[in-house]
Symmetry: C2
Subunit: 515 residues, 2 copies
């Protein structure tokens, strides 16, 4: 006989899942006890659930396999939902395990009871509450397959009695691979015909279409006349730098995006969704493509996007090998006053080979993306769902997945405060992360948006809601308080020196860049 | 003509709401602009939404009127849900305003879109999404009435276009008071008959039944033969200390609660819900009352609980005035090693008249409640829904509501890390809060629960998930990093000296008590 909790652990291990990002509670104690019996599973504690889910996202983006969380009941889940929202938008494969009361106990509505399904559904592609220990292997494998093959956030609810119940030990096996839906020939032909007819075609890439294996095919398409290739505004992971195809992104700003897409007659989505305005504004359009532009989906995230681009390039008569692209020069190291551009230049210039860049700089270093087109080859992880507070947790997960690669996080201060507890996990796990806090001491994006709605002179209430300068946050103190080495810089020269020093060491390091 | 956002502000002000706990985003900018035109509204920024909702809870508990929040879309809401869960369990009146995309923009599923209703419903008693500016005054008044008269968490969704749309300016009026449902005579008679017949009757009090005005009537009932009066295990606000009726609470621990209620033949709920086990455990009961015990509801939270107790005491033939109760002596000031009991004794002894105690000490100072039975008169605010991370936000709200009263927060370290951003708001608003961090550097409650499930020797994974000691959190550094004065104490004498010093000053102050 074996407990449901042990079956869950064993099924995860059989599927190659050996890291669990966790913040458990009483209802999960039998599962914790089972995890404690499996030292081959690495349990990583976050002191807040937003750290747990954001770390799971970063881990799965970099490990190329599903990540697992462990959360405590409805409130623990809610604390993790904002970063699950980002993971859902990134199509990151996550098995999100939420402990629940014993099934028979739910009807008593004890204080920690809430409707977990209603809370979980909006941020989950897949949801199931386990009925009993006898179902755990099947349910876990289905959750795993949904996550891996469907690129889903799969929420699996584990009631306490399903965890503690014992049943005859099953033969544990892993989830079968679900076949990928093929890319329809008809769509390939349609797009190829449009290209052949000289229509202006723009491909928008996301997901695996932004990985190194896909980029040579994207480059072939980009070499065709009147064909443009763009990256989605934000994506979970891009492999870029070095001699990889430099890709411009669909702009975040509505007018810029509309202008950029004005001439496009056919928009072809490859793992992407149709670009729309991030927010609505009075008198501005929600859709960004021009009237009459045809929008088609070549392939979706659960399909083989590398194959889709290859087949598409062949059908469109693209050259077998594209010419190298002009990327512009690398920026010089900055001097003088410290600002976002200086930081962007310094990071791009000094970025070590094979680094992982986590970018939640928001408004503070908007030119980093362009400045780093020709930087050393690196992975670039972005904020995908607009829910701030992802950067430092994402860094945790990326560093756990790739212990031999340096993680460099560009972190806006306002967003950083959402999940600063991640620094403690960085220290606890000795993760090789350099966090750069872009300390502008405002919700700068909102000050910009206030001006967009016509407010130029801020009164007391606007200042009280949009400025973070009273009191000033001391990130050096905050980082040290959680066991992370930290230093501040207020000129470009100081910053460059700090960055060199941080990059030369191993382990977590925080630089407060005073803007 | 006036905007929907202005109508919303004016309707809140007409209802006496003049504080808004906020963390806005782009979709709320028209509302922020409207708030900026009303300097009579005090906007209090939290750097994380769990601070915002917890502060709203603390404010409404102490101000005796609804609090208002302002949150940004689904993810902003989710970050605030854990503390809304606690507020819902406390039956705290809150108007929880959530900004949404413009109604016409929702269908484009832009990156920050999610199903707000599905997310909000589990933690809201009342929910509405505003259709347009013309409905805002009505909807706001209905939300306000639901919150105030129904003691509800009322979630009101404000789409961006409803905020920016302009309509003819309405005559603004406040919500009419909804009549309270009367306490049924039949139930009073039933309970009085049971008492008259010599049955063992236990009253369980919550909500306004724990306020000063209700306690003399509760004392009259407690003077009757075979009648016990208890407080619910946790409640939003208790007025206690001084010569107020000392009330024992229904124990948290299952076996203790079952033992305590074993003899009760009739359990009478006055604003309370039936006590049940907080968690299920194998082989233990979920219900705490004995088999055959009759459970009846004398009055619910939306009724007049003071009147209910008064009528009940009269009908049961209780004395017009009850004798004073024995409370035991005040503890002495502690000496020597610092532990939870020493802190409980010192705080109880030195508590200033009319203080507000916020207790999220969890396992660290379990005897504070009893040690403070005879302390100076004070209000006692507890964690009501079991969702940790409420203490420091609750302190923010209580201090905003009662600027002339000292707030003393007993804060466990693990729970405190959930919403430590509240310290920044304490500094920004110059709030008179003394936070005592009970630094035991573990999830102690979970270590206890692990032993409950039979695990005595913790392996690597259990230690990695239940200990907070690697690295050690430096709360002094964390507090100073957010602008709060802080100091640490490691003996009882040091702690007492720190506490005296903190109590003698105004403004936020944190003491890290090394246990």
């Amino acid at each position: 006989m074996t407990s449901g909790a042990d079956i869950l652990c064993d099924t995860l291990l059989a599927n190659g899942v050996d890291v669990c990002f966790a913040n458990p509670g009483t209802s999960e104690m039998h599962f914790v006890a089972a995890l404690d019996r499996k030292p081959q599973m690495r349990c990583v504690l976050g002191l807040f659930e937003g750290v747990v889910t954001g770390a799971a996202d970063g881990y799965a983006r970099m490990a190329d396999k599903p990540a697992v969380t462990l959360l405590h009941l409805g409130p623990g889940l809610t604390n993790g939902l904002a970063n699950l929202h980002n993971a859902r938008r990134a199509r990151t494969p996550i098995i999100n395990i939420v402990g629940d009361h014993a099934t028979y106990h739910r009807k008593y509505d004890s204080p920690l009871t809430s409707d977990i399904e209603s809370l979980a559904r909006p941020m989950s592609h897949w949801f199931r509450s386990i009925a009993g220990a006898g179902d755990i292997m099947r349910d876990t494998n289905e959750a795993f397959a949904a996550a891996r093959d469907g690129r889903a956030v799969a929420t699996l609810v584990l009631p306490a009695d399903a965890a503690w119940e014992t049943v005859p030990a099953p033969d544990i096996f892993a989830a079968a691979l679900m076949p990928q839906p093929p890319v329809p020939d008809a769509m390939v032909t349609t797009v190829a015909s449009a290209i052949g007819a000289g229509r202006r075609v723009t491909f928008v890439l996301a997901g695996n279409a932004l990985r190194a294996a896909a980029l040579p095919h994207a480059a072939r398409l980009a070499a065709l006349d009147k064909v443009e290739v763009r990256a989605q505004a934000t994506s979970g992971r891009m492999e870029r730098g070095g001699d990889r195809l430099p890709l411009r992104r669909i702009p975040f700003q509505v007018d810029a995006a509309i202008a950029e897409l004005a001439d496009t007659q056919m928009l072809v989505l490859v793992g992407a969704t149709e670009p729309v305005a991030f927010f609505a504004y009075p008198g501005k359009k929600s859709r960004l493509v021009a009237e009459g532009c045809e929008v088609v989906t070549l392939a979706s995230q659960e399909q083989d996007l590398v194959e889709a681009l290859c087949v598409m390039a062949d059908a469109a008569g693209a050259p077998k090998k594209a010419l190298s692209q002009v990327k512009g020069d690398m920026p010089d190291l900055p001097a003088g006053a410290l600002n976002g551009d200086a930081i962007a230049a310094a990071v791009a210039k000094l970025l070590p080979e094979n680094a992982i860049v986590v970018d939640e700089s928001v408004t503070s270093a908007p030119r980093f993306y362009d400045a780093s087109l020709a930087a050393a080859p690196h992975d670039y992880l972005a904020l995908t769902g607009g829910s701030i507070g992802i950067g430092m947790p994402l860094s945790v997960g990326a560093a756990v997945a790739c212990p031999d690669r340096k993680v460099v996080a560009l972190q806006a201060d306002g967003s950083g405060m959402y999940t600063l507890q991640a620094l403690w996990t960085q220290a606890r796990e000795r993760l090789d992360v350099v966090t750069i806090i872009l300390a502008n001491r405002t919700y700068n994006i909102l000050q910009h948006e206030m001006r967009n709605v016509g407010v130029e002179d801020f009164g007391v209430n606007a200042r009280r809601m949009l400025n973070l300068d009273d009191p000033t946050l001391d990130w050096v103190g905050l980082a040290r308080g959680m066991g992370v080495k930290a230093i501040s810089a207020s000129t470009s020269e100081e910053f460059t020196a700090c960055l060199r020093s941080a990059l030369s060491e191993r382990g977590p390091f925080l630089i407060q860049a005073d803007l």
